[in-house]
Amino acid sequence: MATEILMPALSPTMEEGTLAKWLVKEGDTVSSGDIMAEIETDKATMEFEAVDEGVVGKILIAEGTEGVKVNTPIAVLVEEGESADDIAAPAPAAAAEAPAAEAPTPAPAAAAPAAPQVDLTPDWPEGTTMKTQTVREALRDAMAEEMRATPEVFLMGEEVAEYNGAYKVSQGLLDEFGPKRVIDTPITEHGFAGIGVGAAFGGLRPIVEFMTFNFAMQAIDHIINSAAKTLYMSGGQMGAPMVFRGPNGAAARVGAQHSQDYAAWYSQIPGLKVAMPYSASDAKGLLKTAIRDPNPVIFLENEIMYGQSFEVPDLDDFTIPFGKARIWREGDDVTIVSFGIGMKYALEAADKLAEEGISAEVIDLRTLRPMDTGTVINSVMKTNRCVTVEEGFPVCSIGNHISAVLMQQAFDYLDAPVINCTGKDVPMPYAANLEKLALTTTAEVIDAVKQVTYR
């Protein structure tokens, strides 16, 4: 049976090319792999090989022809004994079907916004006994409880076992769970993050601790390309149920390479979930949720917060769901939105503003992906003003995102532009005075609130 040979596409973008040279002539026998012609694309001259075996029955496009469109028949291959003349006008080659995908209907731009439905249930039942715990202890208890419950959960990272954690977060875990489940790694973030992701593919539930998230820069390829994208790339067959956790953001006086806040970076990635707790109860409840989640979770802690004490519910099993913000204090004049250590400035500012008669509602996002924008919008519909607070860099920050969401979904309710209080647009300096200046401050939050309330 005669086969048409079509002008091939030789690169992802080629639409036409020049048939520079035929290396076979009519009557030649070719077999698979033989070079038939040289074809020039805009980038290179490529050799074009035969796929089928047969005899070159007819050359349809002469060498030197320019602008030959991809999929144009250029020659006819016949079987031994067959003649190209026998071919009744060959059926036109099926053009490559590349049906232009219809663009999905875009979501209509937010019209008059209805108040979003949000989860207003309390985090724990009223009357629950509370105990005082540091964030550090809460994180350890969360891991220990989940490790007791699920044998596939294990902890790996630098100094997590025998040293009991560089910041003592994993204190006592080696003693309780042994070296099979609490594993000291060499200082090779790229490698052990990859091994962690592979272990998650293989059915385990790893907790990978980074001594700080600054060092996770060495491993970010595995976090994003390997962990976050595999569920999608595999059509839902396999993913990475795991937690990457450790201190994030500025500690104190450790300079530019140890002081970055990665909240906005990771929050941009579909396939990741991102939690950044402030209080000990949230640290515990969110970390337990993170360990149980079947997706890769980035869990951003803060060294300065590790030693801070909070009230934590004294319950056997207590979790905080992702995507549910917490309203720390209610107010009417302005909404202050923050997360992680930024909450310290937000709450301090709210206290001082109250003394001046300004009533601030303070919202802790708790998780950044998913983000409970509904609670923020509902609040802004009441206060009509918003200030965001974070320690990260100002460009493409979480605050920028919240501003955009409010502009699109609550534009009619805003009485002032949203102000983002962020870290400054500089690498972190070492000098004490400059470092203080580089981070956001309670005073800046107070100033921003006064601006949006026109005081």
Binding site: L6, L10, S11, T185, L231
Partner: protein, 331 residues
């Protein structure tokens, strides 16, 4: 090629030889068809063909047991066919269709099969190596006796994460076989231009990982090496390195004009070392099969490949709703 034969050729039955012939031929014909569909615009983006390297995966898989895992980078069609994945599903993934292994959302470089323990299909050179060690870590943790084949090329062999992985795999005695498919060119860079010492199988010495050089154009030599490596891993001795010397006949990807080597070099390899011709002549000279028998096999393979190609054209494009599925597993 001066590959040192470190293993003795096993006695082999005609039936076994015919099996390897069939499996290697399936990969070759499949890849030729993929090249053709690429030329027709039915396959897009990057498409890295495995032609010339068939004996590597077929030989290694010949010794594998049910439950053993495999992971590789983006020149992955051969690995998928060799571990028993359906050619129809692989080809339909290449054309980006609903019937593909990843529902058309992964493409040539990103394909997976949980059922066949094939863990991808990874597009970042070298990243599959710690992932493979992680699979082995899981097997060791679960004490299931399985071994993971972690494939990478001579190009990836210079990535830093390989050595981080060698260190931890040796330290923790992970049951992983590092298979270095040395096809001698990292895209357009010949090994001598990129690599300070040529013997990649010695790269584990600093970590105490044994290594072996294998003739990757000889499927029986590869199978024998696979047996040795599997035995080592299964007995709890930790990782093993196989440097399998092979050769890719085609360009790095479909859009590579391959001007960094001569046509004569490629032709010489095809004429003298072709892994399929090698087995074909063993079958004929050993009187295990007649020309007619082999013609029948050729015909059968051609039918399988044509069926895969037809399926890959007829399977519809994924539904538009698929854009937003499989991003998160339900919590």
């Amino acid at each position: 090629m001066a590959a040192k034969k470190t293993t003795k050729k096993p006695n082999v039955s005609g039936e076994e030889l015919l099996k390897y012939y069939r499996e290697m031929l399936l990969i070759r014909r499949f890849e030729e068809k993929a090249g053709q569909l690429y030329g027709m615009g039915l396959i897009g983006g990057f498409c890295h063909l495995y032609i010339g390297q068939e004996a590597v995966v077929v030989g290694l898989e010949a010794a594998a047991e049910e439950g053993d895992k495999r992971i590789t980078s983006y020149r992955d069609h051969g690995h998928m066919l060799a571990c028993g994945m359906d050619p129809k599903g692989v080809m339909a993934e290449l054309t980006g269709r609903e019937g593909g292994y990843s529902k058309g959302k992964g493409g040539s470089m990103h394909m997976f099969s949980k059922e066949k323990h094939f863990y991808g299909g990874h597009g970042i050179v070298g990243a599959q190596v710690p992932l493979g060690a992680g699979l082995a870590f899981a097997d060791q943790y679960l004490e299931n006796g399985r071994v993971t084949f972690t494939y990478f090329g001579d190009g990836a062999a210079n990535q830093g994460q390989i050595y981080e992985t060698f260190n931890m795999a040796a330290l923790w005695k992970l049951p992983v076989i590092f298979v270095i498919e040395n096809n001698q060119y990292a895209m357009g860079t010949a090994q001598r231009r990129s690599t300070s010492t040529p013997d990649l199988y010695t790269r584990g010495e600093a970590f105490g990982i044994p290594g072996e050089l294998v003739d990757g154009m000889d499927v029986l030599a590869v199978k024998s090496a696979s047996e040795t490596a599997l035995k080592h891993c299964r007995s709890g001795k930790g990782p093993y390195i196989l440097e399998v010397k092979t050769y890719r006949y085609r360009g790095h990807s479909m859009s590579d004009p391959a001007k960094y080597r001569t046509r004569e070099e490629v032709q010489k390899m095809r004429d003298e070392r072709d892994p399929i011709e090698n087995v074909r002549s063993m079958l004929l000279t050993g009187k295990h099969a007649t020309e007619d028998d082999l013609k029948a096999v050729d015909k059968e393979i051609k039918a399988i490949v044509n069926e895969a190609a037809e399926f890959s054209k007829e399977s519809p494009e994924p539904a538009l709703e698929e854009l937003y599925t499989d991003i998160y597993a339900d919590a």
